[in-house]
Every structure is written in structure tokens, then in C-alpha cells.
Symmetry: C2
Subunit: 449 residues, 2 copies
């Protein structure tokens, strides 16, 4: 029997396990699967840790999430086609679940199968090599609690370790003279301590938007967001302003590109993440900016230079969970041989075509449609349950309009599932006033306990 290594048991790795599980249940003989997960539980990003930097075993902490993180996109955009929110929660819920509710949903799907048996928890992959002679990979992994290491051969390797865990942390001149806390968004764990503080977030993408909003919500004295290229441009509330790039720090004073300055108490670098795969040799490692069609991946999945290596979830993401599923189902069919692997020239041709379309994307709305087309293309090639991808694209477009109109209130809006037709309910408490991110609170009626 062939063997498949899956690196990571977050949403992407679990999608891969689920894809094989679906085939197994349908009577197909599937390869031996070994999923390596360095954390002690599944869920990847969604498996919150209060730790920062390095974990109890000295490994880089994986999750970049924080207290009071609520989904920043509607759950109707990320719903699994084979496991709806209705099926999981048993009734309609609101559209922007807090982290524990989404973790529960992800885990709920796989908890109903045997896939957990295929996961080696607290096990880090140290090094992967491909042997041209045998045509197999050797994977060296280490059990973190015991230090025990093992090198094993696999026919296929699926990289599902994510790319929102290793901070991109640029040097800002003089930052070493700033005396307050300086951290990357990756190490941010909650804004309660920012009450009455002047907070600077450096960046203009999701992390800056949400961490800035968290600081505002928790009573920061002011929030300043600094952008390199263009401001986020939302209708920010009083006390929340955008300024151009921080050019330098002089002690606790940030100097901006427009000549203005501001004394701040805390700095959070929301400067993105690196594609980093410290367990992969250069010939196997994706090295890409964060975008919706990284080069070198056939169908966004298959490593062009070695089509026995797959990446799940390596794209920048509008679509998430259901896109990982679409990718995993397609990767599964290639591994099972159900779908023939095109030759290198054909794959290159496909990559070039998609990359050409990708390069011509004019704006975010078009990028959402592009990714919708990408997801549809994959689903059409597999037996993953078809769903109204255009409907999801429209949900994302509406979400963007809702954000533009009401950045501090958009999470109170509702959307309708394309999977079940269920319209979500309004959360009992406005997001800006909601200080409890527990699953119980999400599912409760909002009465004080």
C-alpha cells in the first residue's frame, strides 16, 4: 500500500484527511495516511494558544489568533459543502462566529470519523527529502515530548502547514529605541491591556484592520494605523486615524512619511506572514508572496517540479474551508490515480494560463471572482458536493460593501447560506459591545449568566 504524509492538521490537513475518509467510506482502498501535527490538538490557526513566540517544547507557536477574535468574514462564505453549520449547530446561528465556535465547527466534522487515528500529535517534521532513485520521500519527524525521531518513506507528501504563522517582521529604523511593547500581530493575544493607551498598528491589511478595531473596542486612547501603499480607507470612528508609513522611531515617538509624528505606547506590526517551510529543501519549498495564485503550483496544488508533492491552502484566501476541501478532493484523486496527472508541459501550460489571468486582476472584487472560478474549476473535477460558488462570491461582495459602510458594525449583519438556504440570525449583542467570545455565549441568548 502506498503511503501519504500530510504535514499539519489544521483546516487544510483535515480537509485532506476528510477527502480520503470520504473515499474510504465509499469503498475505495486508500493509502496509509500519516498526518504530522506539532500541536497537541487539531485545528491549526483555530487552535488558540495563550503562548507567544515559542511553545512549551521550544517550537514556534503556530496560531496567530487572539482573545475576542471573531471571524472577519461571514460563515456563509466558508461553509463546508459536505457539513453545514445547520448540521453542526442544529439551528441557525449568526454570521460571524467567534474563534471557539469556528474551531468547534471544524473539529465537529472530523470528530465524526476515524481520522484522528491518522494524526501524530506533538510531532514536528524536521526534514523531507526526495530520493530520485526510489521515487519516494523520506520524512524525518520528531516527537516533541520524548525527542524520539523517526525517518520514514512516503510516496506522496501533502504540505498543509499554512502560511500565516511565520511573521514578516521588517526593520523600522530606530525601533530598538522604542520602550513600549513591540510585537508582530502573530504574538498579539488581546487588546484588553491597551485600554487608555495610544496604539500604533503598522500595516493596512486584515491584521491591522482587526487589531486596530480590537484596540478601539477595548478602550484605547487612540489608534493609529500606518500604511505603506494606500490607507484602508474605512469610515473609522473618532480616535482611529490612518497615516502613511512610519519612517523611523525616536524613542517612543513614531515619525511618519508625511512629516507628522505621534508618541505611542504600543506598536503592533501587522506586516504579514512568510511562506516558510523549515522542513523542506529549497527544491521542494514554495517561495512566494502571499497571493491567490502562487507560481509553480499546478491547479494551485501540485508542485510543478515534483508532482508527488502537494500544497493545500497555499493561496491568499477569500474562500477558505471549502476551497481547501476542493483542493484536497482534487489532490486525493490525483494520488489515487482516479485523475491522471498531466505531463509537465501540460501542467506548465495550465499554470501559465491561470497566472496570466491572475496578473490581470484589477481589484479585490475581481480577485474574489477569480478565486470563485478557481474553486469551481476544482470542484468540477471531483465528487466534492457542488454548490453555488457564484452565490458565495456574491456573499463576499456584499460583505465588502457592508464593511465599507460600517467597519465597526459589519459583524452584526446577516447572510444566507448557499448550502442550506438558511438565513443567519442576528447575534444577541452588537459586536462592539460583545466582550465574551466563548462558544456558550455564541450559542446562548445573551442574558447575563
Amino acid at each position: 500500500m502506498s503511503r501519504v504524509a500530510i504535514i499539519g492538521a489544521g483546516p487544510s490537513g483535515l480537509a485532506m484527511l476528510r477527502a480520503f475518509e470520504a473515499a474510504r467510506r465509499a469503498g475505495t482502498e486508500v493509502p496509509e495516511l500519516v498526518c504530522f501535527e506539532k500541536q497537541s490538538d487539531w485545528g491549526g490557526q483555530w487552535n488558540y494558544s495563550w503562548r507567544t513566540g515559542l511553545d512549551q517544547y521550544g517550537e514556534p507557536v503556530h496560531s496567530s489568533m487572539y482573545r475576542n477574535l471573531w471571524s472577519n468574514g461571514p460563515k456563509e462564505g466558508l461553509e463546508f459543502a459536505d457539513y453545514s453549520f445547520d448540521e453542526h449547530f442544529g439551528r441557525p446561528t449568526s454570521s460571524y462566529p467567534p474563534r471557539p465556535a469556528l474551531w468547534d465547527y471544524i473539529a465537529g466534522r472530523v470528530a465524526k470519523s476515524d481520522v484522528r487515528e491518522d494524526i501524530r500529535f506533538e510531532t514536528a517534521v524536521r526534514w523531507v527529502e526526495y530520493d530520485d532513485e526510489t521515487g519516494r520521500f523520506s520524512v524525518t519527524s520528531q516527537h516533541l515530548a520524548t525527542g524520539e525521531d523517526v525517518t520514514e518513506d512516503f510516496d506522496h507528501v501533502v504540505v498543509a502547514s499554512g502560511h500565516f504563522s511565520y511573521p514578516n517582521f521588517p526593520e523600522v529604523p530606530g525601533i530598538e529605541t522604542f520602550h513600549g511593547p513591540v510585537m508582530h500581530a502573530h504574538d498579539f493575544r488581546g487588546a484588553e491591556g491597551l485600554r487608555d493607551k495610544h496604539v500604533l498598528v503598522i500595516g493596512s491589511s486584515y491584521s491591522a484592520e482587526d487589531i486596530g478595531s480590537q484596540a478601539y473596542k477595548m478602550g484605547a486612547a487612540s489608534v493609529t494605523a500606518s500604511y505603506r501603499t494606500s490607507p484602508m480607507g474605512y469610515d473609522w470612528p473618532e480616535g482611529f486615524t490612518e497615516r502613511p508609513a512610519v519612517e523611523r522611531f525616536e524613542g517612543d515617538v513614531a515619525h511618519f512619511a508625511d512629516g507628522t509624528e505621534k508618541r505611542v505606547d504600543a506598536v503592533i506590526l501587522c506586516t504579514g506572514y512568510l511562506h516558510k517551510y523549515p522542513f523542506l529543501p529549497e527544491v521542494l519549498a514554495l517561495n512566494s508572496p502571499n497571493n491567490v495564485y502562487p507560481d509553480g503550483l499546478y491547479k494551485g496544488i501540485v508542485w510543478q517540479d515534483n508532482p508527488k508533492l502537494y500544497y493545500i491552502g497555499a493561496q491568499d484566501q477569500w474562500f477558505t474551508f471549502n476551497m481547501f476541501d476542493a483542493q484536497a478532493w482534487f489532490a486525493r484523486d490525483l494520488i489515487l490515480g482516479r485523475t491522471p496527472m498531466p505531463d509537465a508541459a501540460e501542467r506548465a501550460e495550465s499554470i501559465a494560463q491561470w497566472r496570466e489571468r491572475f496578473a490581470a486582476i484589477p481589484n479585490a472584487s475581481a480577485e474574489i471572482r477569480f478565486q470563485g472560478d478557481y474553486v469551481r474549476d476544482l470542484i468540477d473535477l471531483t465528487d466534492y458536493p457542488a454548490f453555488d460558488v457564484d452565490g458565495v462570491v456574491e456573499i463576499f461582495q456584499q460583505w465588502k460593501r457592508d464593511k465599507a459602510g460600517d467597519i465597526m458594525g459589519y459583524r452584526d449583519y446577516t447572510y444566507t447560506s448557499v448550502m442550506t438556504g438558511t438565513e443567519s440570525v442576528k447575534h444577541h449583542t452588537a459586536w462592539l459591545a460583545e466582550l465574551d467570545d466563548s462558544l456558550e455565549r455564541y450559542l446562548g441568548d445573551g442574558d447575563a449568566e
Copy 2:
């Protein structure tokens, strides 16, 4: 020509390079040396970074040092026997240099040779394996800026990567409900931001002592140090108290084992470090508590199960730089074949004898003498310049008395070098009032600029 891999270019790795350099200058043919250093400069711990957690390449930050860190032991205890402070600075200086001055001293010695050419900076070792058939190690390393990896064979490997970089970070019940900053000492970068704050340091060793003192110096509203076994017991100033173990947090309130509680604003875990070698298989990796005679190392250096593998600086340390030198000189002579490698039984016998002595050490003063004996034993076996080890032992004993008598002022005391007979001078400014840790300030006359 045989090849030696040296992992790390901090004080221990540089000692190893210096040892070979000394032999080379004396006309001996030495092996090809490759020193792998993941940072962009040498100095290890002493190469300060404002970064915390992960560095610009997503690698764990190595240095645990912080702004305004001054040596916590007199420089007369750590002076190189072959490169005195007088030779480096050209005149007497005070006994407790700030970090940049010690970095300058470490770097100054090696800057005068060609050893830098043997160092591959920004290069992380990913995996080491020993091949029983060839009798050589294969070392896979990766250049961090380019991702380029290479696997090479070596006859010997010297592990000099230190053991004060990977935090030991225990779980404290309820710590996830604490809203202020929680960090390990490894990620502490300065106490200026703790002014007017109620600070809790968990631990009772050097980190707790010094970070607590830094917080006091920088104007913390209070400092509480929590011990597991016994208090540090110094004559702390007003506002600095010791309490037994933190049993749990409830939000921002720490509850101690004696039933008392305290609301605090910041928590720093000074709970020590792990021996962690993520690039080593279990059969080669030292797995030891932090102590002065880890098991499994002949002469505290040679890996008993594979005597082609060496550790420099793996001990807990009273002696530091000159001990690393003594170890490096001895390892060098073994590698060069100048000193024959005893057989396994003889090495085991030696380890057992030292471990027996180690187990009988009654207190810290005896431990210092024990380590002095250890250093002397090594020096006697090599051509490292002999020095008055007992004199250094006495300096450490005096240092302990000075600390016991004046915990906030002991760094203002002076000592006499056993290497040069030079008595140190008093720093122009009392440590408690000195807020500038620059080399210029250390060497200046204390006038305002």
C-alpha cells in the same frame, strides 16, 4: 583533510574557532572548519536583538538579553586567559560591563584572526545524522536569506548552540485569563515600559533577580517575585517582595501558595531554559536539566555514545568564557589526535566519578569550587594559558557575599584580575542610577554629553 562542523558562533563556538586558530598559528595543520551561525553576526547571546519570538527569517530569536543588561558577575570571573580586558580596552575598566562592552570584548579577540572566514552566517543547521558505515556525520544546513540548502559530510561535530535560548515556559492555571503582557524572560527587552506598573516575576534564579531589579530600577510601582522552592532572600528594597509559587491566575489577580493574592499589570516568567537541539536526532541530543555536570558527557564535552560529537558550554555556568576556552582547547586536542580518546569504559568511569562528586555538592559555594576544579582539570590537559583558578573561585565567592550584602549596589564593587593583576576601577555612575548601557558610556568619564 578532515572536516569539523561547529554549530553556533557565540562564546562557545568562537572559543572552538580560537582554539584551532591558536594551533594553526603554532604551525599545526588543522582540519577544515565550518561554523554555522543562524544570526547575521557573531556573539550568540551577546548579539542583542530587539526582536522577540521569531526573527526576520522566522527562526527562533537566539538572544535572551535586554536593554540595560549589565554583567551580573564581575568580568574578572570570565576573563580569557589569552586575551585580557587590559589588552582589549587598553586600560582598567569597571568590573560589571554592560552587554555591548562584553560583546566588544568577545568579538575583539576573534576579530584579530581569520576565523570569521570559517563562519557561515545566516545559516541554520536543519538536521545532523551519523552514518555508522562511513563513520561521518551528514549535516544539512540552510542559508536563511536564499533558502539554499546543502548536505555535507563532517568527521566531527561540535555543538556550541547554547542552552539559554529556548524558554522553559510552564503552564500556570488561569494564565490565559490574564490580560496584561505575559512573557518569558527570553522575550523581555527592557523595563522602561514597566514604570508605575505592578510587576510579577515568576522564578528565583538569575533572570528573576535581574529582571525584578530592572523593573525596580526603572520605577515599577511594585515588584513581586514568586519562588517555587525557596526565596532568593536578598535584602530587597521597599516595594520588592518575594512570595511563594503562583498557584493560579484569576484575570489580573495572581494567587500565591500562601493564600495571598495580588493584582498585577505584567507577568514575566523567569522559569529557565531548555536544552533543545532541534537539528539533532535523539541519539545525539543532550537531554539534561541545567546543571554543572550533565550526564553523558565525558569531561563535560564528549558525547559518550559517539565520541566524535562534542558539546561546548553545555553546563550551568559560574565560570563562562574561560571555561568554554578550556573545553574548546581540550576538544581541539582530541580532534587533532594530540590527546588520545579514552575507550568507552574509561570515559564512563570518568563520568561516573565526576557525577558522584557533582551529586554530593552541598551548596552554591561548593558548586563554584567544583566548577573551578573542572576547569583546572581541563586546562592541565592542554596548552591553554594556566591561570589562578582558585583566585577566580575566590572572586566568585566574594561576588556572592557582595550580592548578599547589597543586591542593588553590588555592581558598583571592584575586583582584581588574576590574569593581569589589574584592579578594576569604579564605574563613574552607580548602577542604580545608570540608564545608558552603551560602550561609549562605559568607557567615558560619566559627564553628560
